[in-house]
């Protein structure tokens, strides 16, 4: 949204910028009164009125007299974003399943679908074909077409054109998925790494709201990480995401990892490792792991001792992550969001004891995701919304 052009700014640009800022605010924070928008954006009331009137004319917002009054005087009108006014298609590709949703302004899921990606060997073309098969009925049901597409992929993705360099757990290399989708659906496509998008979603809508320095760690089959630093997704060279923490080597000579290395963090805390710790089949479906974790949480502290070694590995890696990235908050997502509260508390405590950065911050908080398995889907939607809203 910030421009670095050398020429002067014309009133038109200013208006466009303000409108985008207002829309973004409504999108992230939900319905607000005109008065609170004026305060939040630092604009005067007549500017807000002009902007809101313009958006109302486009059908993007609706105004209503608030049901609950606060303070004296004429109540300020409540501005409600209309989810249907701008809809994006979010796609979340995972190792064992793929999900798709139409998401409206305000982050509301209007319609959704998901399907199994068979046996974890989903050929890229098969996944693409299914998307094309199911997007028709989804859009027809909602009677509203998307204006952009956001895609989450568990791998290394080039942001500029959605080229998947490598998605090891999917066994994908060099797949121009972004190109296929934009060509077939005639829409702009934005793609990102799954954990990076999970971090974005938690930051905007989940457990990490109002926290500007956050690390999101998630276990699907593999373990990924996403970093929000100073309120923005942290990117590295070539615009690639930062946070492949699952492949930090924590145990020299440990179990072989599919990435070609040995003893990666993922081999000790990933889905398989969690199954081993729980004493269930390594191929157990996600629901079985969730059910087992819940049963364990209900059974009490003694039963939780089974997870001690797992907790130790989780805390060890997290300590490194906290020392490196200095977050206020660590959000554990996806499969980790089913971890019983005492386990999460224990991890937080160990990290605090061992990490000097955590101690300096008065203890980095560790919590579970508020969005659960939808985090990456919502993150993909937010990625697509970024340009949709700023170009409004």
């Amino acid at each position: 949204m910030t421009t670095t052009s050398t020429s002067g700014t014309r009133p038109d640009d200013v208006r466009r910028h303000n409108r985008a800022a207002l829309l973004r605010r409504l999108h992230v924070d939900g319905p607000s009164t005109r008065a609170s928008l004026a305060t939040a954006l630092g604009l005067n009331r007549s500017t807000i009125k002009a902007l809101v009137d313009g958006l109302a004319e486009d059908g993007v917002v609706e105004e209503r007299v608030p049901a609950q009054r606060s303070g004296a005087g004429r109540p300020s009108l409540l501005v409600l974003p209309q989810p249907q006014a701008a809809v994006v298609l979010a796609i979340d590709i995972r190792v064992e399943r793929a999900a798709m949703a139409l998401v409206g302004i305000g982050g509301q899921i209007l319609g959704r679908d998901s399907w199994r990606v068979r046996g974890g060997h989903g050929e890229p073309t098969e996944v693409f074909t299914k998307i094309m098969d199911y997007v028709g009925p989804l859009v027809a049901e909602q009677e509203v077409g998307p204006v952009a597409i956001g895609v989450s992929v568990p791998g290394v993705v080039r942001h500029s054109d959605g080229y998947v360099h490598e998605a090891p757990n999917l066994h994908w290399t060099d797949v121009p998925l972004g190109g296929w989708l934009s060509h077939a659906l005639k829409l702009p496509v934005h793609m990102g790494n799954d954990a990076e998008l999970g971090a974005l979603a938690e930051h905007l809508r989940g457990a990490a709201r109002r926290h500007d320095d956050v690390v999101y760690i998630s276990a699907d089959v593999g373990v990924g990480g996403g970093v929000i630093s100073n309120g923005l997704s942290m990117r590295g060279a070539g615009g690639h995401h930062i946070g492949e923490v699952g492949h930090m080597v924590v145990k020299p000579g440990g179990r072989p990892c599919y990435c070609g290395s040995r003893g990666c963090w993922e081999t000790e805390i990933g889905e398989r490792a969690l199954c081993r710790a729980l004493g269930i089949d390594e191929d157990s479906p996600v629901g079985a792991i969730v059910a087992e974790l819940r049963a364990l949480g209900e059974a009490g502290d003694e039963a939780l001792a089974r997870l001690d070694e797992f907790v130790e590995w989780l805390a060890l890696g997290l300590g490194n992550v906290v020392n490196l990235l200095c977050p206020q908050l660590v959000v554990l997502g996806d499969l980790f969001s089913a971890l019983p509260a005492p386990v999460v508390g224990k991890v937080e405590q160990i990290v605090r004891e061992r990490s000097l950065v955590s101690r300096a911050l008065g203890g980095t908080r560790v919590c579970t995701s508020a969005l659960g398995t939808d985090a990456k889907l919502l993150g993909a939607a937010e990625l697509a919304f970024e340009t949709v809203l700023s170009d409004w």
Binding site: D113, A291, E292, A338
Partner: protein, 257 residues
């Protein structure tokens, strides 16, 4: 393997001279979708009704959470945490969503129905499943689409904290988009750790959602296999002939008698 939540051992059921279920064993594990498939008259619906307490069984054992139980009526099944979603008669048309979700189990406060708390919980449940397709929880069910109705029926299972959900052809009367909507919900129920049994005739649906496939052939359990270990053709053979290669009944022609 994790422990089964619901287990049937050697269940038999006859309607007069007709022996409908023969020594059926069925295992339902938490977090898994078990598809129950079979030809018409193979006994799928009878089996579900036996679990739900609508039909009694003649012999055999039912274990819930490892303990033997006797389910005599649907109310007892619901009390254990078994919810059943039927093809069509799942909801009462003249009532709204909240009334349907609490039907027969209404909350009472000071001798009056506690509408506010029921409405709040109904709304919370639908939101937790991110079902936002219904405008208001006070919409009469008669004005909902088929897919929305099934969604409400399935959401009941979540509201009542059920452990097992049995779905008897939940998508049989639905169009493409609505079928997708229901299958998506079924998958997410399992991901939350519920044990799900899905009866379906559609092999595509079965292969898309099920972790395991249990095949009934003329009242006998022909096979109970992991979805990833079988092909579409093998399952069709099991359904039609009770046998496919190494899988299935030893001598289906005898079983047929």
């Amino acid at each position: 393997m994790n422990e089964p939540i619901l287990e049937l051992r050697g269940v038999n059921k006859s309607f007069g001279p007709v022996h409908v279920l023969h020594d059926v064993d069925l295992t339902v594990r938490p977090g898994e979708v078990t598809a129950l498939v079979g030809d018409n008259g193979a006994g799928k619906s009878t089996l579900v009704k036996a679990i739900a307490g609508i039909h009694g069984t003649d012999s055999g054992e039912v274990l819930f959470n490892g303990k033997p139980v006797h389910i005599h009526n649907p109310r007892e099944a619901a009390a254990l945490g078994i919810e059943v979603v039927y093809q069509d008669l799942a909801l009462a048309d003249n009532l709204d969503i909240v009334q349907n979700m609490f039907l027969g189990r209404e909350r009472v406060k000071n001798g009056l129905l506690d509408e506010a708390s029921m409405e709040l919980d109904a709304r919370k449940t639908l939101a937790s499943l991110s079902v936002r397709t219904v405008k208001s929880v006070r919409t009469p069910v008669s004005s909902l689409s088929g897919g929305q109705r099934q969604t409400v029926a399935i959401a009941k299972a979540v509201l009542w904290n059920s452990k097992v959900v049995l779905l008897d052809e939940p998508t049989a009367a639905l169009g493409v988009a609505q079928t997708r909507q229901v299958l998506d919900l079924v998958r997410r129920l399992a991901e939350q750790g519920l044990g799900v049994v899905l009866i379906s005739h559609n092999m595509n649906d079965v292969f898309e959602v099920a972790d395991r496939i249990a095949v009934l052939y003329l009242g006998r359990l022909a096979a109970d296999v992991a979805t990833k270990d079988v092909t579409n053709n093998q399952v069709v053979e099991l359904i039609t002939a009770g046998r496919s290669g190494e899988l299935g009944l030893a001598r289906p022609e005898v079983a047929a008698v």
